[in-house]
C-alpha cells in the first residue's frame, strides 16, 4: 500500500468517524439494544475481507482461515440483521 493510498485511507477513516459521531445523537433507551445489534451487524462488513481472503486464497492455510472468517462474519451479519429486525418488530406490536 503506497503512502498516498494510506493517506487517503486515513482521510476516509477520519471522515467516516465524524459521520459516525454525528449520526447518533439522542436514542431512547428502548432502542439501545436494537441499535447496538444493528450496528454490530454492520461491523460484519469484515465479511468482504473474508471473502477476498478465501477466494484469492494463495495458501491452504490462508484459505482455511478465510473460510472460518467467512463463517464467523456471516453469522454476525445474518444473525445480527435478523435479530435486530425481530427486536424492532416487537415495538410495533401494540398498535392494532
Amino acid at each position: 500500500m503506497s503512502d498516498d493510498i494510506m493517506i487517503f485511507s486515513i482521510y476516509i477513516f477520519v471522515l467516516a468517524i465524524f459521520i459516525g459521531f454525528e449520526m447518533i445523537t439522542k436514542v431512547p433507551p428502548l432502542l439501545h439494544t436494537p441499535l447496538m445489534s444493528g450496528s454490530n451487524a454492520i461491523s460484519g462488513i469484515t465479511v468482504v475481507g473474508a471473502l477476498l481472503s478465501t477466494g484469492a486464497g494463495k495458501t491452504q492455510l490462508a484459505t482455511i482461515l478465510g473460510l472460518l472468517a467467512v463463517i464467523l462474519a456471516t453469522i454476525n451479519v445474518v444473525g445480527g440483521f435478523m435479530v435486530t429486525d425481530r427486536m424492532l418488530h416487537m415495538f410495533k406490536k401494540d398498535k392494532k
Binding site: 475481507g49 481472503s53 467467512v70
Partner: protein
Amino acid sequence: MATITSLFYLLSAVLFILGLKNLGSPKTARRGNALAMLAMLLAVIITLLDQRILDFTHIILGLVVGSAIGVYAAKKVQMTAMPQMVAIFNGFGGGASTLVATSEYFQLSGATEVNILATIALSILIGTVTFTGSFIAFAKLQGIMKGAPITFPGQRAFNGLIIVACIVLGVMFTRDPGNMTPLMVILGLAALLGVTSVIPIGGADMPVVISLLNSYSGLAAAATGFVISNNVLIIGGALVGASGLILTKIMCVAMNRSLGNVLFAAVGSDGGAASGGSGEQKQVTRYTADDAVMMLDNAQSVIIVPGYGLAVAQAQHVLQEMAQLLEANGLNVKYAIHPVAGRMPGHMNVLLAEANVSYEQLYEMDAINDDFQNTDIALIIGANDVVNPVARNKKDSALYGMPILNVDQARTVMIVKRSLSVGFAGEDNPLFYDDKTRMLFGDAKKMVTEIVQILKS
C-alpha cells in the same frame, strides 16, 4: 472495472451511513436496518464479482454455513436473551477480523510496507480482544459465569502491561515480518486482555460493555480495511467504531454512570437500582421519559392516576397538556380519581379543575376499576397508597381493607415519583417491584414536562 467496483462500494458505504442514521430514531429504525442489509448485500455481491477471487467453493460453503447458523440463532433466541446474542455475534465479528488479518499475513509476498504490517497487527489485536471479551460478556449474561465482578489485585496494571507488550511486539513484527512469533504472542495476549478487562465488570453493566466491544469490532473491521485496502470496510468499520462509542456514552448517561466508572469501578451487581425492604434485594425497572413516550406511542388507552405527589409538584397544568397531546395522538385518556387521593377530600378535583381538565374525563374508583384490565397503560403520577396492593391482602398493614385502584390489571404500569419511599400510610409498595411496572423517577412536574417535550418533537 476497478473504478466501477469502487463506485459501487461507495454506494454501499452511503447506504450504510443512511442505514445507521435511520436506526437511531424510533420511527425509522426498521427502515434503517433494511438499508444496512441492502448495503451489506451490495458489498458482498460486488466483492464476489472481484476478479481476484479464483475459487468459490470455500466461499459458498462459508456463506451457507454462516447463514444457517445465523438464521437459526436469530430465530431461536428469546427476547430476553437478546443482549447476550448480540454479544456473541459481536464476538464472531471480531474473530472474523482477526482471521482475515491472519489470512492476509500468510498471503503476503515479498517486501511489505510497514503500514500494512502495522494494521495487520492492529486488526488482530482489536479483533481478538473483541472476540474473547464478547464471550465473557455472553457467559456472564447467560449465567454460565457468575455475574458479579471478578477482580484480582493489580488487574488494571496487568491490563496496561499487556497493551504495552502488544505495542512492543507490534514494532518487532513490523521490523521482521518473516518471524510470526510476535504476531502469535500478540494474538494470545489480546485473547487474555479481552478476558481480564471484562471479568471485573458486573452483570448489570454488561450492555454497556457489549456496546463498547461493538465499537471495537467496528475498529477491527476498519483496520482490516486498511490491511486489504478496502474503503467500504474502512468506512463501515469507522461508522460502527464511532457510533458505538457514542451509543456507549448515551447508555452510560442513561444509567447515570461514567464510562470510566463502568469499566473500572467493578460495582455492577445483578439488579438495577434496588432498595426498599429489609435485606432482600428487589428489582425495579427504571424508565426514562423517552421510554415512556415510546410506550405511550404504541398504546391505545391510558388511565392517569393522580395522587398527592401531583399536588406537591403542582404538575396539574402540564399533566393536562400531556393528556391533550396524547388524545391528539389518538389515545383514549381517562383519569381515575381515588376517593382519598391527596390530603383532603376532593384534593385532586381542585387541582384538575384548576388545570381545566374536563369533568367528563374524571372517573371515580368504582366507575373505572373494571376498565384497567382493558387498558394499555396505567400512568400513576405521585400516587402511592391508593394503588398499594398490600391494602388487598396484607392483614397487618395500615392500609388493609382500603379499596384501591386496580392499576396492576393494566398491561403496563408506569409510576412517576421521586424515589421508592412510602406514602402517607408509611407502607412499602410491592407494586414498584412488579414485572409490569416501570418507575419514572423524578419530580412529577419535571418528568411530565419532559414527556410533553418529547411528545411534541
